[in-house]
């Protein structure tokens, strides 16, 4: 049989049955929308939590304070030593002058603090510091141990030992949220896929008589399967399109809430910038879900 002819017939019969099965198609599309909405929502949620966590991680650092009057090249020597450590992400040097300027900047709205600094005259009360960021918050203890072991004479103190508990707790929280988040995403995603699969299964169950008739008049399995796959593509694509549209008001509403909770996360901007990729992911997941469910659900009816 001519392949193009068969393809044309499969396409038009899939489209026809999609249209004639009005209610069933609508119900399937709605359930798939629900599934895609959950998957899309989890995707956005993971973006939010990830950037919150990354923001949190960025805030964790340890500072090495130097004794007053330490020569700059001595500090840079220590900086160089630290940079050679594998666990270190970055080391930034803040000289005493810069520290003072930063301090003034930070408190420019507070005249009392500024006045007390002025009272000290030309003397700078702030020490020079090195701010160390680790690749992983867990590495801070080994970096701190390294500094302790070296026992640099110019180093006044390392603030890790005061903040140890907080840093450890914070990095435990970060790790916990990550793994729990992944687990939740997997479980909810799995449930959503099952719901969509079952809906398609019911839709195909109502067509079992029709499938049986097709077999009896001598249709090949691919000829029978084809229209259901076309319907699956249509269900998936339409559900993806509607879900993507649905996300506009949802993101608009959620974004304001999130922004007021965590100022670092602007969901709206992220959504606008990545809308095409986001839509494509929904489309691909929707089509795979639609076609895959149909293929699996129809299998048992083809074995006669």
């Amino acid at each position: 049989m001519g392949a193009p002819l068969t393809f044309k017939r499969v396409l038009s019969s899939g489209w026809l049955s999609f249209r004639r099965n009005g209610w069933l198609s609508t119900a399937t599309v709605l359930v798939m929308m629900l599934t895609l909405f959950v998957i899309g929502g989890l995707l956005l949620l993971s973006v939010v939590t990830n950037s919150v966590l990354r923001d949190l991680e960025r805030k964790i650092d340890i500072s090495v304070f130097f004794k007053k009057g330490t020569a700059e090249n001595q500090i840079l020597g220590v900086k160089h030593d630290i940079e050679l450590l594998g666990d270190v992400l970055s080391v930034s040097y803040v000289s005493a002058d810069e520290a003072l300027a930063n301090f003034r900047e930070r408190h420019r709205d507070n005249p009392e603090i500024l006045a007390s600094i002025e009272e000290l005259g030309s003397e700078n009360p702030l020490p020079a510091t090195l701010n160390i960021k680790a690749k992983d918050p867990q590495n801070f203890s080994s970096i701190a141990e390294f500094l302790k072991g070296k026992n640099y004479p110019a180093v006044e103190k390392v603030n890790y030992f005061e903040n140890q508990k907080v840093i450890e707790r914070l990095s435990a929280i970060v790790r916990g949220v990550r793994s729990v988040g992944i687990a939740i995403v997997l479980v909810l995603g799995f449930v959503a896929v099952l719901v969509a699969f079952n809906t398609v299964r019911i839709a195909i169950y109502t067509s079992r008589e029709e499938i049986n008739i097709m077999k009896l008049v001598g249709a090949t399995n691919w000829y029978i399967r084809g229209p259901f796959m076309v319907e699956g593509v249509l269900h998936g694509a339409i559900a993806a399109l509607l879900t993507a549209i649905l996300f506009f008001p949802v993101v608009w509403l959620a974004s304001g809430e999130i922004l007021s909770l965590v100022p670092a996360v602007n969901l709206q901007t992220y959504f606008n910038e990545n809308f095409v990729e986001f839509g494509l992911i929904l489309l691909i997941v929707g089509i795979i879900l639609g076609v895959g469910s149909s293929m699996i659900a129809i299998r048992r009816y083809l074995k006669i």
Binding site: M1, G2, L5, T6, R9, S17, R20, E209, E210, N212, I213, M214, K215, L216, V217, G218, A219, T220, N221, Y223, L302, K303, I304
Partner: protein
Amino acid sequence: MILFENVSKIYSPTSIALQDITLGIQPREFVSLVGPSGAGKSTILKMLIAEETPTEGKVLLDGMDVTGLTLGELPYLRRRVGMVFQDYKLLAQKTVYENIAFAMEAAGKADSEIEKSVPEALEIVDLVEKQDHLPHELSGGEKQRVAIARAIINQPDVLMADEPTGNLDPANTWEIVRLLQKINELGTTVLLATHDKQIVDYLDRRVVSLERGKIIRDEMKGKYDL
């Protein structure tokens, strides 16, 4: 030539559908399979299109062993054997025309061929005016005529009818029986499973009587006699 060779269908020792059936049917024959419900008439028909497989024995259609066909080969067998059922088995969402055309589409026939053959088949079963109706808008007899048109549209060697008149009133019954006769006269082997005594007696053709999975009588010009 259809040949059932020592065919048995045994579901369990207490449930035996067919027991050692041997039956040969020549081309262009009109054979009635008669017997009470559960005698095994439907099982025999289903075996010829490999919807059921025998526990023992062989089913041959023109020398080809039907029981050995793969899932991929079955569609080609089923295009050679038209099938009509008591409950019509029409596609509810397709019109009369589409139901008949579907069997040709599934067989990969060209559009031009379909446009030529379907009206001819509608002519044979006298349903030209109803071609755009959906099955639920038809009477039982009309539905069965659509089913027959669909069964013969791919010019099968064999037409099997499983209690085709079981749901019909006498007037429609005779219409269907005459239609089957006409198709047989046009050169198709017809296998009719029925328990309607009047039909069998009227046909005056070969009758194979079944009882509890066994052939108890096989007469060339038979009457319904159980």
